[in-house]
């Protein structure tokens, strides 16, 4: 991105004070130092605007700091009262006397549902975005774009109810089929003929975040300069090759970024997961078995009937989710950064 180095900003700020009179003239633009005309405050306006944006940016940090401080503050009592090991205990009984709770199973469930959801959703979302931007006829494309946006609007409780009442029963067949034929893969070993599993929750999450990732990816793909697409096509690239040489590399940071939004939502989703998952507190790789729970869903489940320690414990789990999101983003950033480094020098 183009930017003026700080030196110029300094020059602008100093500009207001300096009074170098311009070599007079009839042209309004005669003054180079910004003190000459009625619109002399351009430099000041720039400074104000810049500082407004900077203040907003710092305000965001303050907000996050406030949230984090609040989480930590409210979590400490509960963590102190905990008789289990917060990191290794699988059960979650913070309201019992004495309280015993640990994040292990919840964290595991959060990661695995979000991971499976991403594995399903991101390729499909990129597929949808490509379909809309590259494959579909123009008029159809804008209609489809609209539908995708619309689907992003379905409230998560609806996805949850749909997942519980419609999808779960439908998924029973697929689940038992997977166990029958792929049961040798440990992941698919157990299925108890119940459609409520980590897998189904992941599918619901995937469907939920699909429109988000697809909508943003579509925007990004639309921005790929046609010069690049044409360059690829003129080299005799098939449509797919054109996508691979021109569209995907250009759009990659944007897609990663969109995926991060989707991931954030997948990890933070409360009600939909709470409705679909059977909420058991154990670590199990059996993604088809009726088991599993996530941090966010557990907060939704536990909040209403939690006592003080219980609430502190739930807030502590929220803090963990916060930190996990942070870690995931560090990794994603590292991936984008490698790309940017290359592009940055190209700018």
């Amino acid at each position: 991105m183009t930017t003026e180095p700080d030196s110029s900003a300094d020059a602008e700020s100093r500009g207001a004070a300096s009074a170098t009179a311009p070599s007079g003239g009839d042209r309004p633009a005669g003054g180079l130092a910004d003190t000459s005309t009625g619109k002399a405050k351009v430099g000041v306006a720039d400074l104000i605007f810049k500082n407004a944006t900077r203040t907003a940016g710092v305000g965001l940090l303050v907000l996050i700091a406030a949230i984090a401080a609040f989480l930590v503050l409210r979590a400490t009592d509960a963590l102190g009262a905990n008789t289990g090991n917060f990191f290794t205990t699988e059960e979650w009984f913070p309201n019992a006397t004495p309280p015993v709770f640990g994040i292990a199973a919840l964290l595991f469930g959060t990661m695995i549902t979000a991971a499976i959801a991403m594995i399903i959703a991101v390729p499909v979302a990129v597929g949808i975005a490509l379909f809309i931007t590259v494959y579909a006829p123009r008029r159809m494309a804008s209609a489809l774009g609209y539908i995708v946006d619309l689907l992003a609007a379905v409230p998560s409780v609806v996805y949850g109810l749909w997942g519980l009442l419609v999808l779960a029963p439908h998924m029973k067949g697929i689940q038992s089929w997977l166990t029958d034929y792929f049961g040798w893969i440990p992941l698919f070993e157990t299925d108890r003929g119940v459609g409520r599993s980590i897998f189904v929750a992941s599918v619901v999450l995937a469907i939920m975040i699909l429109p988000i990732v697809a909508a943003l990816s579509r925007e990004v793909f639309l921005q790929v300069p046609s010069a690049h697409r044409e360059a690829a096509m003129a080299l005799g690239a098939t449509r797919w090759e054109m996508i691979r040489t021109a569209v995907l590399p250009y759009g990659k940071p944007g897609v990663i970024s969109a995926s991060m939004l989707g991931l954030g939502r997948a990890m933070g989703e409360t009600i939909a997961v709470a409705l679909v998952l059977p909420a058991s507190f154990n670590i199990s790789w059996q993604i088809l078995a009726p088991a599993g729970n996530t941090i966010a869903a557990n907060v939704a489940n536990g909040w209403g009937e939690a006592n003080d320690i219980g609430r502190g414990a739930l807030i502590a789990s929220g803090l963990v989710l916060f930190i996990v999101t942070m870690l995931v983003n560090i990794i994603a950033r590292a991936i984008i950064a490698r790309r940017r480094e290359f592009l940055g020098s190209a700018a």
Binding site: T3, E4, A29, A45, D46, K50, T53, G57, V58, L60, L61, I64, I67, R74, A125, G127, F131, I147, D149, A152, A153, V154, P155, V157, V158, Y159, W162, L167, H170, M171, G173, S176, W177, I207, L210, P211, I212, A215, L216, E219, T238, R239, W240, I243, M260, G264, M267, E269, T270, I271, I295, A296, A300, W303, I315, G318, F322, T325, V328, N329
Partner: protein, 354 residues
């Protein structure tokens, strides 16, 4: 000079005629492959004991893609086959995604339309007992529209400013840190946002439940989405345009507001709509901040309000069918409202000029 003999290459040496046609699979092949895939799947269904419809479609798709790839590789060469494979995959991805998504929509429409009637929009839930079939969502619509509008009013300018800072001014540590924490904020579970506002606004500052408190919680959730998407879109505005504007002697801030932002506007609007869509369906943060009510309260700054997601959630959990019906109808209305907002925003974005 021309001796490259890459298979499928048009410049294959020794041939007099240009290979501009390549060998293309006859038209009937895709049809046959589709038919074959269906037949094969039906056979599998007859032989084994599976019955899922979703799975049926998945299997047909897989078989079709396989059935197309093999002859395509043989006849048309690897590159075309790969292209076909990718095309089929993209189409399949699209269909596979659209089917469940449409299923959700159809489901909501079907169940929701059953209960929709004019009175539903004009009445609150005041005095509706557990057994009663009447009542409406007027109070909830007011609440949702006001809360989401307030949240947008706070989050969009703020988020846009942050995005502008990150893209246009941000250099060095501070902006990297901000940008990073924006991502972190996207993962904030919504209930934590509600808790935060509860602790900060309601308990610490002694404000009561209100639509505005809910809007504050929604704002926290909207900000990162707005920032993220606006940032992405601003980055895509070519520097040439900025330079063109600077060269006209246009100040930086005007360049940003009048050239950069309008260029990125359609994308930004999409992001804002996604943010609106996301928060308009939130339950948990509202539960703790706007509280909910059966009565109409048009003032978002004082007293409990209702909201469509709260309404849906509480009605859906009731044992009576009448309540569950109301929940689906309200869900349908919520979707339609967001769709309308989306539509209006797009109209505005499409119009905007210098």
């Amino acid at each position: 000079m021309k001796t490259a003999t890459v298979p499928g290459s048009a410049v294959a040496g020794g041939e007099d005629r240009l290979q501009l046609r390549g060998r293309v699979l006859p038209r009937w092949v895709p049809l046959a492959a589709a038919a074959g895939a269906v037949v094969l799947t039906v056979l599998i269904y007859l032989v084994t004991s599976i019955s899922s419809r979703i799975q049926f479609l998945l299997l047909v798709a897989v078989f079709f893609i396989l059935a197309m790839t093999v002859p395509s590789t043989l006849v048309e060469g690897a590159r075309r086959a790969r292209d076909r494979f990718a095309t089929n995959l993209v189409y399949a991805a699209f269909l596979l995604a659209v089917i469940p998504l449409l299923a959700v929509l159809v489901n909501v429409i079907e169940k929701g339309a059953r209960r929709l009637r004019p009175g539903f929009f004009t009445h609150s839930m005041n005095g509706i007992g557990a057994r009663d079939v009447g009542g409406g969502i007027y109070h909830a619509i007011i609440g949702t529209v006001e809360q989401v509008a307030l949240a947008s009013l706070l989050a969009v300018p703020f988020g846009l400013l942050v995005a502008i800072y990150l893209v246009e001014y941000g250099r060095g540590r501070v902006s990297r840190v901000i940008s990073f924490f924006v991502d972190v904020l996207t993962g904030l579970p919504s209930i934590i946002a509600g808790l935060f506002i509860l602790a900060f606004w309601i308990l610490a500052l002694h404000q009561g439940f209100s639509g505005f408190a809910g809007a504050l919680a929604l704002t926290v959730l909207m900000i990162p989405i707005v920032v993220r998407s606006a940032e992405e879109m601003l980055k895509l505005v070519p520097d040439e345009l900025r330079e063109a504007s600077y060269a006209l002697g246009v100040a930086r801030w005007r360049t940003i507001l009048k050239v950069v932002v309008p260029t990125a506007l359609p994308g930004i609007v999409t992001g804002v709509m996604l943010a609106v869509a996301r928060v308009a369906g939130e339950i948990a943060p509202l539960l703790l901040t706007v509280f909910g009510t059966n009565l109409i309260n048009a003032n978002p700054f004082s007293g409990e309000q209702s909201a469509l997601p709260l309404y849906i959630y509480s009605q859906a959990g009731q044992p009576q069918q009448a309540a569950v019906d109301r929940a689906w109808a309200a869900a349908l209305v919520l979707i339609v409202i967001i769709m309308l907002l989306n539509f209006i925003a797009r109209l505005i974005a499409g119009r905007s000029r210098l």
